[in-house]
Symmetry: C2
Subunit: 295 residues, 2 copies
Protein backbone atom coordinates (compact mmCIF):
# COMPACT_ATOMS: atom_id res chain seq x y z
CA UNK A 1 0.00 0.00 0.00
CA UNK A 2 1.47 3.37 -0.95
CA UNK A 3 1.47 6.38 1.36
CA UNK A 4 -1.57 8.03 -0.24
CA UNK A 5 -3.69 4.87 0.05
CA UNK A 6 -2.52 4.41 3.65
CA UNK A 7 -3.49 7.96 4.59
CA UNK A 8 -6.87 7.54 2.88
CA UNK A 9 -7.54 4.34 4.81
CA UNK A 10 -6.49 5.96 8.09
CA UNK A 11 -8.74 8.96 7.48
CA UNK A 12 -11.77 6.69 7.13
CA UNK A 13 -10.87 5.13 10.47
CA UNK A 14 -11.27 8.40 12.35
CA UNK A 15 -14.81 9.82 12.46
CA UNK A 16 -14.84 13.50 13.44
CA UNK A 17 -17.02 15.36 15.88
CA UNK A 18 -19.17 18.30 14.76
CA UNK A 19 -16.70 20.93 15.99
CA UNK A 20 -13.91 19.65 13.71
CA UNK A 21 -13.80 21.93 10.67
CA UNK A 22 -10.79 20.16 9.19
CA UNK A 23 -9.70 16.68 10.32
CA UNK A 24 -6.61 14.59 9.46
CA UNK A 25 -5.03 15.02 6.02
CA UNK A 26 -4.31 18.74 5.81
CA UNK A 27 -1.30 20.58 7.22
CA UNK A 28 -3.24 21.20 10.44
CA UNK A 29 -6.53 20.13 11.96
CA UNK A 30 -8.96 22.99 12.66
CA UNK A 31 -11.47 23.01 15.51
CA UNK A 32 -14.33 25.41 16.14
CA UNK A 33 -13.92 26.90 19.64
CA UNK A 34 -16.85 27.32 22.03
CA UNK A 35 -18.16 30.88 21.84
CA UNK A 36 -15.47 32.19 19.50
CA UNK A 37 -14.97 33.20 15.86
CA UNK A 38 -11.46 31.79 15.94
CA UNK A 39 -10.60 28.26 14.95
CA UNK A 40 -7.94 26.37 16.86
CA UNK A 41 -5.27 24.86 14.59
CA UNK A 42 -3.36 21.79 15.74
CA UNK A 43 -0.60 19.67 14.20
CA UNK A 44 2.14 17.30 15.32
CA UNK A 45 5.44 16.41 13.71
CA UNK A 46 8.45 14.24 14.49
CA UNK A 47 12.17 14.63 13.88
CA UNK A 48 14.12 11.38 14.18
CA UNK A 49 17.87 10.79 14.29
CA UNK A 50 18.99 8.76 11.29
CA UNK A 51 15.79 9.59 9.37
CA UNK A 52 15.36 13.38 9.40
CA UNK A 53 18.92 14.26 10.42
CA UNK A 54 22.22 12.47 10.81
CA UNK A 55 23.73 11.46 14.16
CA UNK A 56 26.22 14.15 15.12
CA UNK A 57 24.05 17.02 13.82
CA UNK A 58 24.14 19.97 16.23
CA UNK A 59 21.13 19.47 18.52
CA UNK A 60 20.20 23.16 18.40
CA UNK A 61 19.70 22.87 14.65
CA UNK A 62 17.45 19.86 15.18
CA UNK A 63 15.31 21.76 17.69
CA UNK A 64 15.08 24.75 15.37
CA UNK A 65 14.08 22.59 12.42
CA UNK A 66 11.40 20.83 14.45
CA UNK A 67 9.88 24.17 15.45
CA UNK A 68 10.09 25.66 11.95
CA UNK A 69 8.52 22.61 10.25
CA UNK A 70 5.53 22.93 12.55
CA UNK A 71 5.31 26.70 12.09
CA UNK A 72 5.28 26.05 8.34
CA UNK A 73 2.18 23.85 8.85
CA UNK A 74 0.39 26.71 10.62
CA UNK A 75 1.52 29.13 7.89
CA UNK A 76 0.07 26.80 5.25
CA UNK A 77 -3.40 27.24 6.81
CA UNK A 78 -3.08 31.04 6.91
CA UNK A 79 -2.81 30.91 10.71
CA UNK A 80 -0.79 32.28 13.62
CA UNK A 81 1.11 29.87 15.90
CA UNK A 82 0.52 30.24 19.64
CA UNK A 83 1.62 27.29 21.81
CA UNK A 84 3.83 24.21 21.59
CA UNK A 85 4.43 20.98 23.48
CA UNK A 86 7.67 19.02 23.07
CA UNK A 87 8.63 15.43 23.72
CA UNK A 88 12.07 13.86 23.73
CA UNK A 89 12.88 10.16 23.78
CA UNK A 90 16.62 9.70 23.59
CA UNK A 91 19.55 7.47 24.44
CA UNK A 92 21.86 8.74 25.72
CA UNK A 93 19.76 11.41 27.44
CA UNK A 94 22.37 13.80 28.83
CA UNK A 95 21.31 16.91 30.70
CA UNK A 96 23.56 19.09 28.57
CA UNK A 97 21.94 17.91 25.37
CA UNK A 98 18.50 18.23 26.93
CA UNK A 99 19.04 21.87 27.89
CA UNK A 100 20.64 22.83 24.61
CA UNK A 101 17.65 21.28 22.85
CA UNK A 102 15.08 23.02 25.03
CA UNK A 103 16.89 26.36 24.93
CA UNK A 104 17.06 26.27 21.15
CA UNK A 105 13.41 25.22 20.94
CA UNK A 106 12.43 28.04 23.31
CA UNK A 107 14.37 30.61 21.25
CA UNK A 108 12.76 29.39 18.02
CA UNK A 109 9.27 29.27 19.54
CA UNK A 110 9.65 32.80 20.93
CA UNK A 111 10.74 34.08 17.51
CA UNK A 112 7.40 32.93 16.08
CA UNK A 113 5.33 34.18 19.02
CA UNK A 114 4.80 30.83 20.70
CA UNK A 115 5.32 29.62 24.24
CA UNK A 116 6.12 26.05 25.29
CA UNK A 117 3.32 24.91 27.59
CA UNK A 118 4.27 21.30 28.25
CA UNK A 119 6.13 18.21 27.22
CA UNK A 120 7.58 14.90 28.20
CA UNK A 121 11.10 13.50 28.50
CA UNK A 122 11.92 9.79 28.43
CA UNK A 123 14.87 7.48 27.97
CA UNK A 124 15.05 5.19 24.94
CA UNK A 125 16.25 1.63 25.61
CA UNK A 126 18.66 1.67 22.62
CA UNK A 127 20.78 4.46 21.08
CA UNK A 128 18.74 6.99 19.10
CA UNK A 129 16.59 10.09 19.44
CA UNK A 130 12.95 10.90 18.64
CA UNK A 131 11.64 14.44 19.05
CA UNK A 132 8.04 15.50 18.59
CA UNK A 133 6.40 18.89 18.64
CA UNK A 134 2.65 19.48 18.91
CA UNK A 135 1.72 22.96 17.76
CA UNK A 136 -1.40 25.01 18.38
CA UNK A 137 -2.44 28.18 16.60
CA UNK A 138 -5.40 30.28 15.59
CA UNK A 139 -7.07 31.37 12.38
CA UNK A 140 -10.48 32.79 11.55
CA UNK A 141 -12.71 30.64 9.37
CA UNK A 142 -12.76 33.17 6.51
CA UNK A 143 -8.94 33.31 6.41
CA UNK A 144 -8.27 29.58 6.70
CA UNK A 145 -6.92 27.87 3.60
CA UNK A 146 -7.27 24.15 2.98
CA UNK A 147 -5.40 22.05 0.45
CA UNK A 148 -8.49 20.29 -0.92
CA UNK A 149 -10.38 23.29 -2.32
CA UNK A 150 -8.55 24.19 -5.54
CA UNK A 151 -11.02 24.90 -8.38
CA UNK A 152 -10.88 23.97 -12.07
CA UNK A 153 -8.90 26.59 -13.95
CA UNK A 154 -7.06 27.84 -10.86
CA UNK A 155 -3.39 28.58 -11.40
CA UNK A 156 -0.77 26.77 -9.31
CA UNK A 157 1.49 29.38 -7.73
CA UNK A 158 4.25 29.30 -5.14
CA UNK A 159 6.54 31.38 -2.97
CA UNK A 160 10.32 31.33 -3.40
CA UNK A 161 12.18 28.67 -5.36
CA UNK A 162 12.68 24.92 -5.29
CA UNK A 163 15.32 22.22 -5.18
CA UNK A 164 18.74 21.45 -3.63
CA UNK A 165 17.48 22.04 -0.12
CA UNK A 166 19.87 19.49 1.40
CA UNK A 167 23.14 20.33 -0.43
CA UNK A 168 22.58 24.07 0.18
CA UNK A 169 21.69 23.61 3.88
CA UNK A 170 18.32 25.25 3.28
CA UNK A 171 16.52 22.26 4.85
CA UNK A 172 17.85 23.62 8.17
CA UNK A 173 18.17 27.34 7.43
CA UNK A 174 14.75 27.93 5.83
CA UNK A 175 12.34 30.51 7.22
CA UNK A 176 8.73 29.31 7.45
CA UNK A 177 6.50 31.52 5.28
CA UNK A 178 4.42 32.79 8.18
CA UNK A 179 3.78 36.39 7.07
CA UNK A 180 3.28 35.19 3.52
CA UNK A 181 0.76 32.57 4.68
CA UNK A 182 -1.23 35.12 6.67
CA UNK A 183 -1.30 37.51 3.74
CA UNK A 184 -2.42 34.79 1.34
CA UNK A 185 -4.98 33.60 3.91
CA UNK A 186 -6.71 36.97 3.63
CA UNK A 187 -7.01 36.83 -0.18
CA UNK A 188 -10.34 35.48 -1.38
CA UNK A 189 -8.82 34.63 -4.78
CA UNK A 190 -6.55 32.05 -3.07
CA UNK A 191 -8.68 28.92 -3.05
CA UNK A 192 -6.25 26.36 -1.60
CA UNK A 193 -2.82 26.35 0.05
CA UNK A 194 -0.26 23.93 1.52
CA UNK A 195 3.45 23.84 2.29
CA UNK A 196 5.98 21.85 0.27
CA UNK A 197 7.88 19.32 2.34
CA UNK A 198 7.88 16.15 0.23
CA UNK A 199 8.81 17.74 -3.09
CA UNK A 200 6.99 20.26 -5.28
CA UNK A 201 5.55 17.76 -7.74
CA UNK A 202 4.34 15.27 -5.13
CA UNK A 203 2.76 17.97 -2.99
CA UNK A 204 1.18 19.81 -5.93
CA UNK A 205 -0.37 16.51 -7.06
CA UNK A 206 -1.69 16.01 -3.53
CA UNK A 207 -3.43 19.35 -3.74
CA UNK A 208 -4.85 18.32 -7.11
CA UNK A 209 -5.89 14.88 -5.87
CA UNK A 210 -7.50 16.17 -2.67
CA UNK A 211 -9.35 18.78 -4.75
CA UNK A 212 -10.59 16.13 -7.19
CA UNK A 213 -8.66 17.71 -10.08
CA UNK A 214 -5.87 16.95 -12.54
CA UNK A 215 -2.82 19.19 -12.93
CA UNK A 216 -0.77 20.53 -15.82
CA UNK A 217 2.64 21.64 -14.64
CA UNK A 218 4.53 24.28 -16.64
CA UNK A 219 7.98 22.94 -15.91
CA UNK A 220 9.84 25.83 -17.53
CA UNK A 221 8.15 28.26 -15.13
CA UNK A 222 9.14 26.48 -11.91
CA UNK A 223 11.63 28.73 -10.12
CA UNK A 224 14.75 26.69 -9.38
CA UNK A 225 16.98 27.43 -6.43
CA UNK A 226 20.64 28.14 -7.12
CA UNK A 227 21.40 25.89 -10.09
CA UNK A 228 18.93 23.13 -9.29
CA UNK A 229 18.01 20.88 -12.21
CA UNK A 230 14.34 20.49 -13.16
CA UNK A 231 14.34 17.12 -11.46
CA UNK A 232 15.84 18.55 -8.27
CA UNK A 233 13.34 21.42 -8.22
CA UNK A 234 10.41 19.04 -8.66
CA UNK A 235 11.39 16.25 -6.31
CA UNK A 236 14.06 17.20 -3.73
CA UNK A 237 11.62 18.19 -0.97
CA UNK A 238 12.13 20.08 2.30
CA UNK A 239 11.67 23.41 0.48
CA UNK A 240 9.08 24.67 3.00
CA UNK A 241 7.68 27.04 0.41
CA UNK A 242 3.94 27.62 0.14
CA UNK A 243 2.06 26.53 -2.97
CA UNK A 244 -1.46 27.76 -3.61
CA UNK A 245 -4.29 27.74 -6.13
CA UNK A 246 -5.42 31.17 -7.40
CA UNK A 247 -8.39 32.22 -9.50
CA UNK A 248 -6.82 32.70 -12.98
CA UNK A 249 -8.04 36.26 -13.55
CA UNK A 250 -6.53 37.47 -10.28
CA UNK A 251 -3.12 35.86 -10.18
CA UNK A 252 -1.24 38.70 -11.89
CA UNK A 253 -2.62 41.38 -9.56
CA UNK A 254 -1.84 39.22 -6.51
CA UNK A 255 1.71 38.66 -7.73
CA UNK A 256 2.22 42.35 -8.43
CA UNK A 257 0.99 43.47 -5.01
CA UNK A 258 2.50 40.73 -2.85
CA UNK A 259 4.80 42.53 -0.39
CA UNK A 260 7.10 39.63 0.49
CA UNK A 261 9.10 37.14 -1.54
CA UNK A 262 8.75 36.59 -5.29
CA UNK A 263 5.66 34.62 -6.37
CA UNK A 264 5.58 32.43 -9.45
CA UNK A 265 2.85 30.65 -11.40
CA UNK A 266 3.74 27.30 -12.88
CA UNK A 267 0.67 25.16 -13.41
CA UNK A 268 -3.06 24.94 -13.83
CA UNK A 269 -5.67 22.73 -12.16
CA UNK A 270 -8.00 21.00 -14.61
CA UNK A 271 -11.07 18.81 -14.65
CA UNK A 272 -9.81 15.24 -15.03
CA UNK A 273 -8.59 12.21 -13.13
CA UNK A 274 -7.89 13.43 -9.59
CA UNK A 275 -4.17 13.76 -8.96
CA UNK A 276 -3.20 13.02 -12.58
CA UNK A 277 -0.32 14.95 -14.13
CA UNK A 278 -1.69 15.52 -17.62
CA UNK A 279 1.57 16.56 -19.29
CA UNK A 280 3.94 13.94 -17.91
CA UNK A 281 5.13 12.97 -21.45
CA UNK A 282 6.22 16.59 -22.05
CA UNK A 283 8.13 16.61 -18.75
CA UNK A 284 9.85 13.37 -19.69
CA UNK A 285 10.97 14.95 -22.99
CA UNK A 286 12.57 17.71 -20.92
CA UNK A 287 14.74 15.08 -19.20
CA UNK A 288 12.54 14.50 -16.18
CA UNK A 289 12.19 10.79 -15.55
CA UNK A 290 12.32 10.46 -11.80
CA UNK A 291 8.57 10.53 -11.38
CA UNK A 292 6.61 7.35 -12.03
CA UNK A 293 2.94 7.77 -12.67
CA UNK A 294 1.06 5.44 -10.37
CA UNK A 295 -2.51 6.61 -10.78
CA UNK B 1 20.36 16.62 38.96
CA UNK B 2 17.23 14.79 40.12
CA UNK B 3 13.96 14.86 38.20
CA UNK B 4 12.34 17.56 40.38
CA UNK B 5 15.31 19.91 39.99
CA UNK B 6 15.38 19.24 36.27
CA UNK B 7 11.69 20.06 35.88
CA UNK B 8 12.12 23.22 37.96
CA UNK B 9 15.02 24.34 35.76
CA UNK B 10 13.05 23.61 32.61
CA UNK B 11 10.04 25.54 33.86
CA UNK B 12 12.16 28.65 34.32
CA UNK B 13 13.34 28.28 30.74
CA UNK B 14 9.83 28.68 29.35
CA UNK B 15 8.21 32.09 29.85
CA UNK B 16 4.44 31.97 29.36
CA UNK B 17 2.14 34.30 27.45
CA UNK B 18 -0.73 36.07 29.21
CA UNK B 19 -3.36 33.59 28.00
CA UNK B 20 -1.63 30.65 29.71
CA UNK B 21 -3.49 30.00 32.97
CA UNK B 22 -1.37 26.96 33.81
CA UNK B 23 1.98 26.25 32.14
CA UNK B 24 4.33 23.26 32.32
CA UNK B 25 4.44 21.23 35.55
CA UNK B 26 0.83 20.23 36.11
CA UNK B 27 -1.01 17.28 34.56
CA UNK B 28 -2.14 19.56 31.72
CA UNK B 29 -1.48 23.07 30.54
CA UNK B 30 -4.52 25.36 30.50
CA UNK B 31 -5.06 28.20 28.03
CA UNK B 32 -7.67 30.94 28.06
CA UNK B 33 -9.58 30.85 24.76
CA UNK B 34 -10.46 34.02 22.84
CA UNK B 35 -14.05 35.04 23.62
CA UNK B 36 -14.89 32.00 25.74
CA UNK B 37 -15.40 30.98 29.38
CA UNK B 38 -13.81 27.62 28.69
CA UNK B 39 -10.14 26.89 29.10
CA UNK B 40 -8.36 24.64 26.64
CA UNK B 41 -6.43 21.82 28.34
CA UNK B 42 -3.42 20.28 26.58
CA UNK B 43 -0.98 17.51 27.48
CA UNK B 44 1.38 15.10 25.75
CA UNK B 45 2.64 11.71 26.80
CA UNK B 46 4.86 8.98 25.37
CA UNK B 47 4.75 5.20 25.55
CA UNK B 48 8.03 3.54 24.59
CA UNK B 49 8.82 -0.11 23.92
CA UNK B 50 11.26 -1.44 26.49
CA UNK B 51 10.53 1.43 28.90
CA UNK B 52 6.74 1.59 29.39
CA UNK B 53 5.92 -1.87 28.03
CA UNK B 54 7.83 -4.97 27.01
CA UNK B 55 8.49 -5.98 23.39
CA UNK B 56 5.84 -8.52 22.46
CA UNK B 57 3.06 -6.75 24.34
CA UNK B 58 -0.17 -6.76 22.31
CA UNK B 59 -0.13 -3.46 20.39
CA UNK B 60 -3.83 -2.83 21.06
CA UNK B 61 -3.07 -2.74 24.80
CA UNK B 62 -0.30 -0.25 24.19
CA UNK B 63 -2.63 2.04 22.24
CA UNK B 64 -5.29 1.78 24.92
CA UNK B 65 -2.83 2.56 27.69
CA UNK B 66 -1.50 5.59 25.82
CA UNK B 67 -5.02 6.98 25.44
CA UNK B 68 -6.01 6.23 29.04
CA UNK B 69 -2.87 7.80 30.54
CA UNK B 70 -3.65 11.00 28.71
CA UNK B 71 -7.33 10.91 29.65
CA UNK B 72 -6.20 10.53 33.26
CA UNK B 73 -4.26 13.80 32.90
CA UNK B 74 -7.42 15.59 31.74
CA UNK B 75 -9.39 13.97 34.58
CA UNK B 76 -6.83 15.24 37.08
CA UNK B 77 -7.66 18.84 36.04
CA UNK B 78 -11.42 18.26 36.37
CA UNK B 79 -11.78 18.48 32.58
CA UNK B 80 -13.39 16.73 29.63
CA UNK B 81 -11.20 15.31 26.83
CA UNK B 82 -12.09 16.31 23.27
CA UNK B 83 -9.39 15.70 20.65
CA UNK B 84 -6.19 13.71 20.20
CA UNK B 85 -3.21 13.58 17.85
CA UNK B 86 -1.04 10.47 17.61
CA UNK B 87 2.50 9.85 16.41
CA UNK B 88 4.23 6.55 15.76
CA UNK B 89 7.94 6.02 15.17
CA UNK B 90 8.62 2.32 14.82
CA UNK B 91 10.89 -0.31 13.31
CA UNK B 92 9.57 -2.55 11.91
CA UNK B 93 6.60 -0.45 10.82
CA UNK B 94 4.21 -3.02 9.39
CA UNK B 95 0.84 -1.96 8.06
CA UNK B 96 -0.94 -4.61 10.13
CA UNK B 97 0.57 -3.30 13.35
CA UNK B 98 -0.13 0.26 12.30
CA UNK B 99 -3.83 -0.41 11.71
CA UNK B 100 -4.28 -2.47 14.86
CA UNK B 101 -2.69 0.39 16.80
CA UNK B 102 -4.83 3.09 15.20
CA UNK B 103 -8.02 1.04 15.47
CA UNK B 104 -7.43 0.40 19.17
CA UNK B 105 -6.56 4.07 19.71
CA UNK B 106 -9.71 5.14 17.85
CA UNK B 107 -11.89 2.78 19.94
CA UNK B 108 -10.36 4.04 23.17
CA UNK B 109 -10.63 7.70 22.12
CA UNK B 110 -14.28 7.25 21.14
CA UNK B 111 -15.04 5.66 24.52
CA UNK B 112 -13.90 8.88 26.22
CA UNK B 113 -15.65 11.19 23.77
CA UNK B 114 -12.57 12.15 21.75
CA UNK B 115 -11.80 12.17 18.06
CA UNK B 116 -8.37 11.77 16.47
CA UNK B 117 -7.69 14.90 14.44
CA UNK B 118 -4.15 14.30 13.24
CA UNK B 119 -0.86 12.54 13.65
CA UNK B 120 2.37 11.47 12.07
CA UNK B 121 3.92 8.11 11.15
CA UNK B 122 7.66 7.57 10.67
CA UNK B 123 10.16 4.74 10.47
CA UNK B 124 12.83 4.36 13.14
CA UNK B 125 16.33 3.51 11.90
CA UNK B 126 16.81 0.76 14.54
CA UNK B 127 14.35 -1.72 16.11
CA UNK B 128 12.00 -0.14 18.63
CA UNK B 129 8.78 1.82 18.95
CA UNK B 130 7.87 5.27 20.30
CA UNK B 131 4.23 6.36 20.49
CA UNK B 132 3.05 9.81 21.54
CA UNK B 133 -0.39 11.19 22.11
CA UNK B 134 -1.24 14.88 22.40
CA UNK B 135 -4.56 15.41 24.07
CA UNK B 136 -6.86 18.44 24.12
CA UNK B 137 -9.81 19.02 26.41
CA UNK B 138 -11.93 21.68 28.05
CA UNK B 139 -12.69 22.86 31.57
CA UNK B 140 -14.17 26.04 33.01
CA UNK B 141 -11.89 28.12 35.18
CA UNK B 142 -14.02 27.63 38.31
CA UNK B 143 -13.92 23.83 37.92
CA UNK B 144 -10.25 23.48 37.09
CA UNK B 145 -8.06 21.88 39.76
CA UNK B 146 -4.32 22.42 39.95
CA UNK B 147 -1.80 20.41 41.91
CA UNK B 148 -0.06 23.42 43.47
CA UNK B 149 -2.94 24.88 45.44
CA UNK B 150 -3.31 22.61 48.50
CA UNK B 151 -3.78 24.65 51.68
CA UNK B 152 -2.35 24.12 55.18
CA UNK B 153 -4.61 21.75 57.10
CA UNK B 154 -6.13 20.20 53.97
CA UNK B 155 -6.60 16.46 54.10
CA UNK B 156 -4.94 14.27 51.48
CA UNK B 157 -7.61 12.04 49.96
CA UNK B 158 -7.72 9.62 47.07
CA UNK B 159 -9.94 7.49 44.86
CA UNK B 160 -9.63 3.70 44.81
CA UNK B 161 -6.61 1.81 46.14
CA UNK B 162 -2.90 1.61 45.53
CA UNK B 163 -0.11 -0.82 44.76
CA UNK B 164 0.65 -3.95 42.68
CA UNK B 165 -0.46 -2.30 39.47
CA UNK B 166 1.99 -4.31 37.35
CA UNK B 167 1.57 -7.83 38.83
CA UNK B 168 -2.23 -7.47 38.76
CA UNK B 169 -2.30 -6.11 35.19
CA UNK B 170 -4.05 -2.95 36.42
CA UNK B 171 -1.39 -0.77 34.76
CA UNK B 172 -3.08 -1.77 31.48
CA UNK B 173 -6.66 -2.46 32.61
CA UNK B 174 -7.23 0.70 34.71
CA UNK B 175 -10.07 3.07 33.99
CA UNK B 176 -9.12 6.76 34.09
CA UNK B 177 -11.15 8.55 36.79
CA UNK B 178 -12.89 10.86 34.35
CA UNK B 179 -16.35 11.10 35.97
CA UNK B 180 -14.73 11.26 39.39
CA UNK B 181 -12.43 14.07 38.26
CA UNK B 182 -15.30 16.11 36.85
CA UNK B 183 -17.32 15.64 40.06
CA UNK B 184 -14.36 16.64 42.22
CA UNK B 185 -13.67 19.58 39.91
CA UNK B 186 -17.06 21.01 40.80
CA UNK B 187 -16.44 20.85 44.58
CA UNK B 188 -15.13 24.10 46.03
CA UNK B 189 -13.76 22.23 49.08
CA UNK B 190 -11.31 20.38 46.77
CA UNK B 191 -8.32 22.72 46.65
CA UNK B 192 -5.85 20.68 44.57
CA UNK B 193 -5.86 17.49 42.51
CA UNK B 194 -3.53 15.30 40.42
CA UNK B 195 -3.33 11.74 39.17
CA UNK B 196 -0.95 9.12 40.57
CA UNK B 197 1.38 7.69 37.98
CA UNK B 198 4.80 7.64 39.65
CA UNK B 199 3.72 6.20 43.02
CA UNK B 200 1.41 7.56 45.70
CA UNK B 201 4.13 8.88 48.01
CA UNK B 202 6.19 10.54 45.30
CA UNK B 203 3.15 12.19 43.72
CA UNK B 204 1.62 13.26 47.06
CA UNK B 205 4.94 14.90 47.95
CA UNK B 206 4.90 16.66 44.59
CA UNK B 207 1.52 18.12 45.44
CA UNK B 208 2.91 19.19 48.82
CA UNK B 209 6.09 20.62 47.30
CA UNK B 210 4.31 22.52 44.53
CA UNK B 211 1.89 23.92 47.16
CA UNK B 212 4.78 25.02 49.39
CA UNK B 213 3.69 22.62 52.15
CA UNK B 214 4.91 19.60 54.10
CA UNK B 215 2.94 16.38 54.35
CA UNK B 216 2.10 13.91 57.10
CA UNK B 217 1.06 10.60 55.61
CA UNK B 218 -1.20 8.29 57.67
CA UNK B 219 0.23 5.07 56.33
CA UNK B 220 -2.33 2.82 58.05
CA UNK B 221 -5.14 4.61 56.23
CA UNK B 222 -3.76 4.16 52.71
CA UNK B 223 -6.08 1.75 50.89
CA UNK B 224 -3.99 -1.08 49.51
CA UNK B 225 -4.96 -2.99 46.40
CA UNK B 226 -5.41 -6.74 46.69
CA UNK B 227 -2.73 -7.72 49.21
CA UNK B 228 -0.25 -4.95 48.42
CA UNK B 229 2.33 -4.24 51.13
CA UNK B 230 2.64 -0.72 52.51
CA UNK B 231 5.74 -0.26 50.41
CA UNK B 232 4.00 -1.45 47.26
CA UNK B 233 1.01 0.82 47.90
CA UNK B 234 3.25 3.84 48.39
CA UNK B 235 5.75 3.34 45.61
CA UNK B 236 4.63 0.96 42.86
CA UNK B 237 3.14 3.65 40.62
CA UNK B 238 0.87 3.43 37.57
CA UNK B 239 -2.22 3.42 39.81
CA UNK B 240 -3.92 6.21 37.83
CA UNK B 241 -6.03 7.10 40.85
CA UNK B 242 -6.76 10.72 41.68
CA UNK B 243 -5.39 12.27 44.85
CA UNK B 244 -6.71 15.58 46.10
CA UNK B 245 -6.52 18.08 48.95
CA UNK B 246 -9.80 18.78 50.77
CA UNK B 247 -10.74 21.39 53.36
CA UNK B 248 -10.67 19.35 56.62
CA UNK B 249 -14.18 20.23 57.79
CA UNK B 250 -15.73 19.07 54.52
CA UNK B 251 -13.96 15.81 53.75
CA UNK B 252 -16.45 13.54 55.55
CA UNK B 253 -19.47 15.02 53.76
CA UNK B 254 -17.68 14.77 50.41
CA UNK B 255 -16.78 11.15 51.06
CA UNK B 256 -20.33 10.28 52.15
CA UNK B 257 -21.94 11.88 49.09
CA UNK B 258 -19.42 10.83 46.44
CA UNK B 259 -21.40 8.75 43.93
CA UNK B 260 -18.51 6.78 42.41
CA UNK B 261 -15.67 4.72 43.84
CA UNK B 262 -14.65 4.66 47.51
CA UNK B 263 -12.74 7.71 48.69
CA UNK B 264 -10.15 7.56 51.48
CA UNK B 265 -8.30 10.15 53.54
CA UNK B 266 -4.74 9.32 54.46
CA UNK B 267 -2.72 12.44 55.12
CA UNK B 268 -2.64 16.11 56.00
CA UNK B 269 -0.83 19.06 54.41
CA UNK B 270 1.08 21.18 56.93
CA UNK B 271 3.08 24.37 57.10
CA UNK B 272 6.73 23.33 56.86
CA UNK B 273 9.54 22.58 54.46
CA UNK B 274 7.91 22.24 51.03
CA UNK B 275 7.71 18.61 49.95
CA UNK B 276 8.97 17.25 53.30
CA UNK B 277 7.43 14.07 54.65
CA UNK B 278 7.27 14.95 58.34
CA UNK B 279 6.66 11.45 59.67
CA UNK B 280 9.18 9.47 57.65
CA UNK B 281 10.70 7.92 60.83
CA UNK B 282 7.26 6.49 61.74
CA UNK B 283 6.89 5.03 58.26
CA UNK B 284 10.32 3.44 58.53
CA UNK B 285 9.29 1.80 61.80
CA UNK B 286 6.36 0.28 59.93
CA UNK B 287 8.81 -1.47 57.61
CA UNK B 288 8.90 1.14 54.88
CA UNK B 289 12.46 1.83 53.81
CA UNK B 290 12.27 2.18 50.05
CA UNK B 291 11.95 5.96 50.13
CA UNK B 292 15.07 8.04 50.60
CA UNK B 293 14.53 11.54 51.78
CA UNK B 294 16.41 13.89 49.51
CA UNK B 295 15.07 17.26 50.52
Amino acid sequence: MNEEALVARLKRLFPQSADVVEGPGDDCAAIRLPGSDSLLLAAVDQVIEGIHYLPGEEICRVAEKLVKRNVSDIAAMGGTPSHAMLTIAANPLGEGTLFRFFEAAQTACARYGMCIIGGDVSALPAPGAVFTLSILGYVTLDCMKRRRTAQPGDLLCGTGSFGRSFPTGRHLRFEPRLEEGRYLGKQRCVHAMMDVSDGLLKDALRMASDSGLALRLEADSVPRYDGASLEEALTDGEDYELIFAVAPGEADALMAEFPYTRLSKFGVFLEGTPGKLVNLPDLKKKGFDHFHENN
